[in-house]
Each structure stands twice: as structure tokens, then as C-alpha cells.
Symmetry: C3
Subunit: 150 residues, 3 copies
Amino acid sequence: MLDGELISMENVVFRSYIWWCGVLTLKMFAMSILTGLWRFIKATFANPEDLMSPKLKVKFDDPDVERVRRAHRNDLENILPFFIIGLLYTLTNPSTFLAVNLFRAVGISRIVHTLVYAVVVVPQPARALAFFVALGSTAYMALQVVAAAF
Amino acid sequence: MLDGELISMENVVFRSYIWWCGVLTLKMFAMSILTGLWRFIKATFANPEDLMSPKLKVKFDDPDVERVRRAHRNDLENILPFFIIGLLYTLTNPSTFLAVNLFRAVGISRIVHTLVYAVVVVPQPARALAFFVALGSTAYMALQVVAAAF
Amino acid sequence: MLDGELISMENVVFRSYIWWCGVLTLKMFAMSILTGLWRFIKATFANPEDLMSPKLKVKFDDPDVERVRRAHRNDLENILPFFIIGLLYTLTNPSTFLAVNLFRAVGISRIVHTLVYAVVVVPQPARALAFFVALGSTAYMALQVVAAAF
């Protein structure tokens, strides 16, 4: 197959890639909504124009708000690089079985990461494991992309 | 049209997509410049090696610097996922009219978001509206991408 | 060459682009590892469930941890937009010589940025120069992408 032809709904690897991109984007947006919910529940706003009552003051240290924000930032650090590396890895024409399972590993482990970090706090090493499965899988894809460029 | 052929300057949807990617990237870079300007105006630096005078100390709580940084982070959370989802949505061969207007909605509302957040502070719900128009449009595209992957 | 055909290992510009995407993704992941190392060395954890001993408390102001986190955030602000703009710039069929050297400029200057910011602190303007070389190169590509969309 020529490289450009790999970008096709006929290509199972590409379909798997776009599925997880869509799902993980929606998951990341859920972090924004969750941050907003906690801001209202805890009356913790970062901007004067957001304060619902003149009695409130801006506040930056609510533990529930900050926990969701840390989980969200971790998404930016890990999911966003996956979005581009997953596409480029797809263009290296990898084994279908391996590629589909790597995407699945990233997708599921990033959802688990969110659940154990920002929804129901689970003791370590739950979050560390979820973090490293996604990071390891994406790093492997990045190495394959680098190898393909030689 | 075959999927790969959608990545073409002949495709009006793709041209609209790349236009907004270019514009929004430049807009995001403007946030870096604006942060730097405020750091100099307010003499608020985050690193010892950045201090312009031995009398200064590192400072992390200047409201003007932090406001631009919050706006910038919000860009990372919303514009960066749009960059990939907009491309994948283009590859689903959507209606030209709908796609071009969704991209326009994201592009314009993210520029408005920056203006009312970090340039001239406008009372709510200005920022919330701009935020949700872009988030809603991108989430719709993500759902279409997920649907196309079935 | 038709646009879609530019996405090909036969295209030297595309090969250069994917090489730097792979390298810079691995570099960004190194920031996560480095943050983790400093957290252990300085016993500075952001979550109660991460504390290794009941005597520790969560801590958010360790200068070494925060320095790496600032460098990492700067990567998110600059490398992630490059990932998409570099791809779209490749699709504008640019001069091979110019494109390959722009990608090289971004790649090398972002690695230098990390080294002088988060590994061995080098006095300014080292970091500022590295920052502006990458920002300027990516902004030029973004302008070419916008021009191609007219």
C-alpha cells in the first residue's frame, strides 16, 4: 500500500486510530466540564468576573478543583502527542494486530488514568500503571516513526 | 471521493480547515508574546535567570500575567484537540456548508474567547459563551469521527 | 505532485517532518520522567495518594520540580502546534531545502530550550534565543499555510 492510501476508512488501523482520537477528545472535554462542576460546587473561581456573589474571592487552591486540573494537564502532556504519533505510526503501515492493540492500550489506560485520578481516587500504583502503559505504547510508536524516517 | 483525496487544496473543507489551523496557531503564539509583555511590564519573572535586576525576586502571582496564562492554557485544552479532530472530520467527507461553518465557529469563538479573557475583560457570560461554542462544535466533530469509525 | 501524494516516505520533506515529530515526542516524554525523578529526589508530591511516607505532606512549590514543569508546559505551547503546522506546511509542497531546515531549526532549538531550562540552567539569553528560533520558524510555516488556503 502507498502511504497516502493508508489514510482510508478501508484501513482497519486508521479506523481504530480515528475511533480513539474521537473518544479521547470527548474524554478530555469531560475534564473541562468536571473542572467547571467542581468550581461551582466548591465556589472556587479563578477570575473576578466569574464570582457569583460579591462575598466570594478568587481562589486557586481548592484540592478538588486542582486535582481535576492536574489530571487534565496530564492529558495534554500524553494524549495530545498520541494524536499526532498515532497518525504517523498508522502511515508506517504497521501490523494491524499490533497497531490496533497499541491504540486500545493508550485509549483504555488514559480513561483508567482519569477515573483513578479525578473521579474515584484509587491508591497507587493504579494511576502510575495507567500512566506508564499509555506512555510506553506511545513511545514505542514514536520510535517506529523515527525508524521509518531513516 | 476517496479519503486520501480529501487532503487537497481542491477540497474547500480542507482549505477552510488549514486556514483556521494557521490562524489559531498564530493566535496561540500571540499568547506567549502577551505573557512575555506582561512579565516585563509587571517585572514578574518565574526564573532566577530571568530577573533583570538583582533587587527582583521570582514571582508567581501577578494577576495580569496569570490571567494570560490561564487563557493560554485554555487554548491548549481546546484548540489543540480541534487541530486533530478537524483534520479527521475533514476525512469523513462532511457537508461543505456544515464543515466550513463549524470551523468558522471554532475559529471565531476562540478568538473572541481570547479577547474577552486576556485583552479586554468582558463580564460573563461572554467568555462562557465563546468557550461553549468552540467546545460544542469540536465535540460534534469528534462524535462524527467516532461514528465514521464504526 | 498532488497534495495527498506528499504524505509519503518518498517525500524527503515528509520524512524529515516525521523524524522530528518522533524525536520531539520522546523529548517531551522525557520531561514527564524528569518531573517524576525530581519529585522522588525532593520528596515533593502533588497528591495525598502519592506520598511515600505518612510524615510527608503534599507540596507544590519545589523549585526543581516546578522548573521542569514550566519547561514541559512551554513544550506543550510550542511543540504541539508545530506537530500540526509542520504536517500542513508539508502539504503546501514547500522547497525541500527550506522545509527540512525549518524542521531542523524547530527540533534542535526545542532540544536546546530543554537543556538550558531544565537540565543545566544557562544564563539568558540562551533560553530566549532557543524559544524564538522555534516560535519564529513555526510562525513562518503557519503563515505559509494560511497563504496556501487563500
